[in-house]
């Protein structure tokens, strides 16, 4: 549409005319940007152990189930969690390590599954990019072992494998860890919830109603 180009120019002209003295270009803005005050806490003060305990505490406050294990015992811990869930049909992202796919369960690996196929699954197992202890947040960047966004959305039960080396104390520490901004992101802080009716918190509206986390102690 030709009118859309005109509208675009009209709005940008209005914006440019609104700022006096005239606004800078992107390079000039970058100089101002670097001088913005950032006196908030950028690095947490907790010890490694306290940080992990905080992460566990926050997750449990969200009614998430948390189990700790070691790298060697991880496959057995996953199998135990799957068994305890009472479910049989699970999906897994294509990049999930093969040794995590416990025997005795029915696995569907996501090589381009349809929405209907994902909807059939009772649960999903994924890895994570990182965990933020301060708010008990699981960070997904949707890599091959974290899976497409829909995988952790439709199934009612989500088992997430988090390594202790991935846990940071606060959001600024997570952002400091990023080599570059990710293309897709989901931050999960407890299961889906609402307080829209009389501010009563109800768990499980549309996303998974059950979140379980296995924390793998991979640091010595």
């Amino acid at each position: 549409m030709s009118t859309s180009a005109e509208t675009r120019q009209l709005i940008l002209d209005r914006i440019r005319a609104a700022i006096l003295p005239p606004a800078k270009d992107l390079a000039g803005a970058a100089v101002d940007y670097s001088a913005l005050p950032r006196d908030y806490i950028r690095r947490g003060s907790l010890s490694r152990e306290d940080k992990l305990q905080l992460m566990i505490e926050r997750l449990r406050e969200y009614d998430a189930e948390v189990i700790e294990t070691t790298p060697r015992e991880l496959p057995a811990a996953i199998a135990a969690q799957l068994k305890a869930s009472g479910k049989r049909n699970f999906i897994a992202p294509a990049g999930l390590p093969a040794e995590w796919l416990a025997d005795d369960f029915h696995w569907t690996i996501d090589h381009g599954l349809t929405t209907e196929q994902i909807e059939q699954a009772e649960g999903v197992v994924t890895a994570a990019f990182c965990g933020v202890a301060d708010s008990g947040t699981i960070v997904l960047h949707h890599s091959a072992e974290e899976g497409r966004r829909v995988l952790t959305l439709l199934p009612d039960w989500h088992l997430c494998i988090l390594r202790s080396s991935q846990v940071v104390q606060s959001f600024p520490e997570y952002f400091d860890r990023l080599p570059q901004p990710p293309r897709l992101v989901t931050y999960i802080s407890g299961p889906s919830a609402t307080a829209d009716i009389e501010m009563t918190r109800i768990k499980g509206v549309h996303g998974p109603r059950f979140l379980a986390v296995i924390l793998v102690r991979d640091e010595v």
Partner: protein, 481 residues
């Protein structure tokens, strides 16, 4: 419930709009309860953040900087989003935005659309427009479903149905979803909404969302939510249309480390909202394969051009100001006659209307400053309220009928009286004599005629004392000599 008008062009002035609310004890109870719950949670979580003030300072600086360089950042956002496979459109007003969105829906041959809660779409009255054009709109946020099915209007920007209680929700759901045996247990009601929407999510291939933030650096869009209906709409459909005000831009991805620490704590009193999603254009194999962003001006560039008022656009729509406001707590949102109620609505609505409508809103405040203190991006709302009040007064002064308006007549007389001491003393004497007639034996005035009645209809006035301060002071000075 009475019909509520949220179009500022037709809504009655605040003092008039507030009357039905003040006479509705159920509504006031619902609002006060919700506000008390949020405020208690927020206070606890803000107190545990030792760097809260530093975060506010950083957030205010980032938002101001983004606005001062808005042109450059919007162009950067557009370039990055386009490079990632998104399509960016611009709409200068509400009408253009509505038509643009309808055109996009027609290209998709969409007869139905699912929606994530977006205040911006309420601002441009998108739903009635699409319905009239033959597109069925399904809201998916629980509060928005309650409002849509109950044909009610939102009264808060984060918890839009906070004025509706559980038995009212039960009645609406039972009637509209055909569920006769539904109880008023919030859990059961929420479950009813889950089932009602699940098939819609899986079947309707077109979605409309708002945006909490646009990231200039990467071209990503952020949506912050609780229920997962947002993720459904952002992930399952074939086509996604995002409507965003031009002011929503943040320079860098990393700015989220400040904004996300403030937003949920301020909005709902949680450390973090359950789900935050960011996506960049289109990603093969993951989510909608056609993605449009509609950037809406609708009066924002005009606000930007006024240096004192520009700060209004820093708003991140957390609603902390309305939760903190003593006026909002009594009135709820409907009295503001706008989809943006509370202190932020009192400054944003008249400005979006270019000061042609909603002129009563800047006066709907006690100027106590609680909103400024609560605001995570430090918008000095009282300062903007005063600025807008002066503009409204200047508008009124120019009106022909103003010469005989009792208020203005009175102020002009007062102006005269305060100019000369002898005139002032004479007026005091006349006032004492005149009021003596109305002063009862208990020393109080219970009734006054004419304009004075505006005071005495709700409260008593103490009768004037026998001696004025001036007389007392002069007598005291004489004694000391």
């Amino acid at each position: 419930m009475n019909h509520v008008e949220l179009d500022p062009r037709f809504a009655p002035p605040f003092p008039q709009a507030v009357l039905p609310v003040l006479r509705n004890p159920q509504l006031r109870k619902n609002v006060a309860h919700a506000i008390d719950v949020i405020q208690a949670k927020r206070a606890k979580l803000v107190a545990e953040k030792t760097d809260w003030q530093a975060l506010r300072t950083a957030a205010a600086a980032i938002r101001s900087h983004a606005l001062e360089n808005l042109g450059a950042y919007l162009e950067e956002f557009e370039a990055r989003c386009t490079a990632a496979g998104g399509q960016v459109h611009w709409a200068s007003d509400a009408d253009e935005a509505r038509r643009l969105i309808l055109d996009l829906l027609r290209q998709e041959k969409a007869s139905e659309v699912i929606k994530i809660k977006t205040m911006t779409s309420a601002e441009i009255q998108l739903n009635p427009f699409l319905q009239a054009a033959g597109v069925d709109v399904f809201e998916t946020d629980l509060a928005e479903i309650i409002l849509q099915l109950g044909e009610l209007e939102p009264s808060h920007i984060v918890v839009p149905a906070l004025h509706v209680n559980r038995s009212q929700v039960r009645e609406i759901f039972a009637r509209r979803m055909g569920l006769k045996d539904l109880s008023d247990d919030p859990k059961e009601l929420t479950n009813a909404a889950r089932h009602y929407l699940r098939q819609k999510f899986l079947a309707i291939p077109t979605a409309i969302s708002g945006a909490n933030f646009l990231i200039a650096e990467t071209g990503a869009v952020a949506v912050v939510e609780s229920e997962g209906n947002g993720r459904m709409c952002l992930t399952l459909p074939r086509t996604l249309i995002t409507l965003a005000g031009i002011e929503k831009v943040l320079p860098r991805f990393q700015d989220l480390e400040v904004m996300l620490q403030l937003l949920a704590r301020s909005a709902t009193g949680e450390r973090m909202n359950p789900y935050t999603s960011l996506w960049t254009g289109v990603t093969a194999g993951d989510g909608p394969q056609r993605f449009h962003v509609v950037l809406l001006d609708n009066g924002r560039s005009s606000i930007l051009s006024k240096p004192k008022q520009r700060q209004t656009l820093k708003c991140i729509r957390c609603a902390a100001c309305m939760n903190a406001c003593p006026v909002y707590r009594q009135t709820g949102g409907h009295a503001y006659g706008s989809v943006y109620p509370g202190p932020i609505g009192a400054i944003l609505t008249p400005q979006l209307m270019q000061m042609h409508y909603a002129q009563s809103l800047p006066f709907a405040s006690s100027l106590c400053g609680a909103c400024y203190e609560a605001c995570p991006v430090k918008i000095n709302i009282p300062e903007v309220l005063l600025e807008l009040r002066s503009q409204v007064v200047n508008q009124e002064r120019k009106q022909a009928g103003r010469f005989f308006d009792p208020l203005y007549l009175g102020l002009r007389v007062a102006n005269l009286l305060f100019a000369w001491a002898w005139l002032f003393h004479a007026a005091q004497w006349a006032g004492r004599v005149g009021l003596r007639v109305f002063t009862r034996k208990d020393g109080w005035i219970h009734w006054l005629p004419s304009v004075g009645g505006k005071w005495t209809q709700t409260r008593d006035l103490r009768g004037l004392p026998a001696q004025t301060f001036h007389q007392w002071w002069a007598a005291r000075a004489k004694e000391k000599q």
